[in-house]
Symmetry: C2
Subunit: 143 residues, 2 copies
């Protein structure tokens, strides 16, 4: 909040957004090079303003109730090259360069790693890095 | 509802979904060939079950409060080749073949046709077909 108070963010383009009743919009992160959809998370006004200013993805964590600077723990920062808005002004797409090549907290490239096959969800993408190694839950060593 | 009542849908894979407090999940439609993100809409349990069964995108229209068989007015049906689920089980991706090459009710290929440039939303995709011609608001002629 200090940040926004000391340096007000431009308002017009943010006013165009139709925030939901919790003040949020869904934001879809898409790999700018491959087109793969990496994840979907949520943004409030401050998160989107900071994302645009810093050109890195900053979401609103609904579970933690605070800003989530993607990559703050994992190093898997998303550098934003483009921000898009849909026709209803209630969904955002970010085109990103995914540092480390891993967007998902499970250590996979994309969060959408399960595919419906014959009435079952099947994991179809490999774990590229052990989550314990990513987040250092065991002192930085993988389990 | 007649449909589901007469022929019960398999439940297990639907039970895996974390529906929100309105019984919905966001569903992102992605062009299976180009990787372009076409739109995001919402699905309830019945919409997702029918989407899987019919292999065409069927959403839940929050504004109309009923199932929305994408393309029912426009002919712009989305044929579904793949259904993905994310790590938190609360977002769906559909890989689709977009009939007519137009997903957006504005007559554009994608709903995400506005790009943020220097603090303004700029339309960067052409209207491929006049909406009046798509939806026949003026008897099928374009305005």
């Amino acid at each position: 909040m200090q940040d926004t108070a000391s340096n007000p963010l431009p308002e017009d383009w943010l006013d165009a957004i139709k925030w939901d009743d919790q003040g949020l919009v869904p934001a879809i992160a898409q790999d700018a090079a491959s087109g793969d959809i990496l994840m979907m998370a949520w943004m409030n006004r401050e998160a989107l303003a900071l994302t645009a200013r810093e050109q890195r993805a900053i979401y609103w964590s609904r579970s933690r109730g605070k800003l989530w600077r993607k990559g703050e723990s994992s190093g898997h920062v998303q550098q934003v090259s483009e921000i898009r808005l849909d026709c209803d002004a209630d969904v955002i797409v970010l085109k990103v360069d995914q540092l480390g090549g891993i967007a998902c907290h499970t250590g996979r490239r994309s969060c959408f790693y399960r595919r419906l096959e014959d009435g079952q969800w099947v994991s179809v993408e490999p774990v590229l890095k052990d989550p314990d190694a990513i987040y250092g839950d065991s002192g930085g060593t993988s389990s």
